[in-house]
């Protein structure tokens, strides 16, 4: 069996269990909010709220370098720690966190395969309600690495020139324009459809039923053979608000080892509302 391109970034729940007392391993649960974390989390894990702690609503942007430094300092994380992320919804928000940690240059960040759900379903894995006692650090982040993030002008160019892979990871109904957002979601757009030239590869095609990532051969077959992603080209992935596309961004860049992969976190809630931006519908 072939390996993932960067096998070290994906950890099993068993690995995490064995390293619960390792002082250089810092566990962080990232969920859309902290309800699940508060009810019970992996011993020693701190909890991040994606809605309120990882983005700045006023700017509509990811948190700034200073805010990232403050968040990690208050969470007791040091630059040389191994940071292990996991979360709800099949690790969507943990994958978003992974992307953010990479943007701010954290050297060793990893994802727990299967996320919160897998840990919950395994008999031998413990959950606790006590929050860990943290010793604040003086965390210093690197300047943001924007090669991991796509902005509108680049997306428009990719769409026009069709010289890169453009991957829409939303559900087929969102891609076709039949729905603008999954039912009940508040963040929507003026229009339904997709960015011209985008291929629809739903994020969920990358995972098994239990939420763990599919093995390397299956992922290669899916993205490269069946869906026509060209591994020699650069890639931009998007969804609706940038969390599902972080998941696919992780797959393409770290599991399959593509060189240049960007997450377009503005995604459909930005593009679908832009004046002068053409869309395609296939409904």
């Amino acid at each position: 069996m072939s390996e993932f391109a960067h096998p070290e970034v994906l950890l099993s729940t068993d690995w995490v269990k064995e390293h619960l007392n390792d002082p250089n391993v810092k566990l962080i649960e990232i969920d859309v909010d902290t309800q699940a974390y508060d009810a019970g989390h992996i011993p020693g894990a701190v909890g991040f709220n994606w809605q309120t702690q990882l983005q700045q609503p006023v700017q509509r942007d990811i948190i700034s370098k200073e805010e990232f430094e403050k968040l990690l300092s208050n969470s007791g994380v040091s630059r040389d720690d191994t940071v292990v992320l996991y979360g709800d919804n099949h690790n969507w928000f943990a994958a978003y966190g992974f992307w953010l940690f990479k943007i701010y240059g954290h050297p060793d960040v990893r994802l727990m395969d299967g996320g919160r759900q897998k840990w919950l379903d395994e008999e031998d894995k413990e959950l606790v309600t006590e929050k860990p006692r943290v010793t604040p650090t003086d965390y210093r982040a690197a300047d943001p690495d924007w090669t991991l993030r796509a902005f509108v002008p680049e997306v428009m160019e990719v769409s026009k020139k069709a010289d890169k892979n453009l991957v829409d990871v939303r559900s087929p109904d969102e891609y076709s324009g039949k729905v603008i957002a999954p039912p009940g979601m508040t963040e929507t757009a003026q229009r339904g459809g997709h960015i011209p030239g985008a291929k629809n590869i739903p994020w969920s095609s990358a995972v098994n039923k239990d939420g763990t990532f599919k093995p390397p051969e299956e992922l290669k077959k899916l993205y490269f053979e069946e869906k026509g992603v060209d591994p020699s080209k650069s890639t931009v992935a998007y969804c609706r608000i940038g969390e599902r596309s972080s998941h696919t961004w992780f797959v393409l860049k770290y599991l399959l080892g593509l060189n240049d992969v960007k997450n377009y976190d503005g995604s459909w809630t930005e593009y679908g509302n832009l004046i002068g931006a053409p869309i395609e519908k296939s409904a």
Binding site: A39, L120, S171, G211
Partner: protein, 331 residues
């Protein structure tokens, strides 16, 4: 009543006075009523009955599973003054469990999805549940875990000293309840004549339990499950694509699964109310619609529909699907 009068209980319902609410729970000696369907039965040659589960003390078929699960936890010493119950439930099971638990002196935390209507949440609180509302699922996707089930599991795992989780989706007591009560009641009430059983699918406790019992007694009984079309919003029910969550689903016990356009559930429920005088809820409407297809096709037989609950909780849902109800409600 005391054991010495137990014999009398079985026969003399005329003078029966219940000692407490627990005695009112359904059993072979105290069955939920069965009533013939007259005007909405499409074939006179087919005897069709509805078993009215809303006559149970807490208003639905879920009284059976809730009572069985609670007794099981009690019997095994799993619950006490300090260790209560946590359960993911959007309604009927929660109401039954809350009322039963509180009447016996235990706490119940009900974990419910946010999209559940306010009325139902309030009902749970009134019945004595502590509510924990889960933010709605972000993106319904194949295999994505159910938010309320997972949160309840988290409580049971992280705070095991405070909560036991019966888990109606996996607990065999939910099936056992129907093997011990609903099945034998139907058998006796039809005097073994039953040829068709019509049920809906939620946790699948009813279908699996009743089918198991009846199949033992009479292998020729046809078990017909009726499921709503995809995208439905019928409280308590699951479509086949959602049934993964239930470990109690046993396809081998079901002869046919009919899929019915869910909008028809509301229409048929209204018809039941207005022509049979049965104030039946939406899942009854769905069952009736599926049943009518089978009755028209098979013509002869003796069919029993298990009607899970009545319409009182669903006026708002009915209005949503039958907007013409609005007419004449204000000056």
């Amino acid at each position: 009543m005391s054991d010495s009068t137990g014999e009398m209980n079985a026969t003399n319902q005329q003078t029966r006075v219940y000692e407490d609410v627990f005695e009112m729970l359904p059993s072979e000696e105290n069955p939920s009523p069965m009533v013939r369907i007259n005007r909405l039965n499409p074939a006179a040659s087919f005897s069709l009955y509805a078993k009215l589960e809303w006559a149970n003390p807490f208003g639905s078929v879920k009284d059976r599973a809730a009572w069985q699960m609670l007794q099981d936890l009690e019997g095994r010493g799993e619950i006490n003054q300090d260790r209560g119950i946590v359960e993911p439930t959007s309604g009927n099971t929660g109401i039954s469990l809350a009322a039963l638990a509180r009447a016996r002196g235990y706490r119940l935390k009900a974990v419910v999805p946010n999209k559940v209507p306010k009325e139902k949440k309030l009902m749970l609180k009134i019945a004595g549940a502590e509510l924990e509302v889960v933010s709605d699922e972000l993106c319904p996707a194949p295999g994505l875990g159910d938010g309320s089930i997972n949160l309840a599991k988290t409580y049971a795992k992280a705070q095991g000293d405070r909560y036991a989780m019966p888990n109606q989706y996996e607990n065999y007591q939910n099936v056992a309840a129907h093997i011990q009560t609903t099945g034998p009641e139907i058998w006796r009430q039809t005097e073994g004549q039953i040829s068709h059983l019509f049920v809906s699918l939620g946790t699948c406790g009813s279908v699996t339990g009743i089918a198991k019992f009846l199949r033992e007694k009479k292998p020729s009984v046809k078990v017909i499950a009726i499921q709503p079309s995809e995208g439905h919003d019928i409280p308590g029910l699951r479509n086949l694509s959602q049934l993964e969550a239930s470990k109690l689903f046993d396809r081998s016990l079901i002869d046919e699964i009919l899929e019915i356009d869910f909008e028809l559930a509301y229409k048929r429920a209204l018809e039941l109310c207005q022509t049979e005088g049965l104030l039946a809820g939406p899942s009854c409407g769905l069952i009736l619609e599926g049943t009518r297809h089978v009755v028209e096709r098979d013509q002869g037989g003796c069919g029993v529909m298990v009607f899970p609950d009545n319409i009182f909780k669903y006026t708002a849902t009915m209005l949503k699907h039958l907007p013409e109800l609005e007419e004449g409600t204000s000056v």
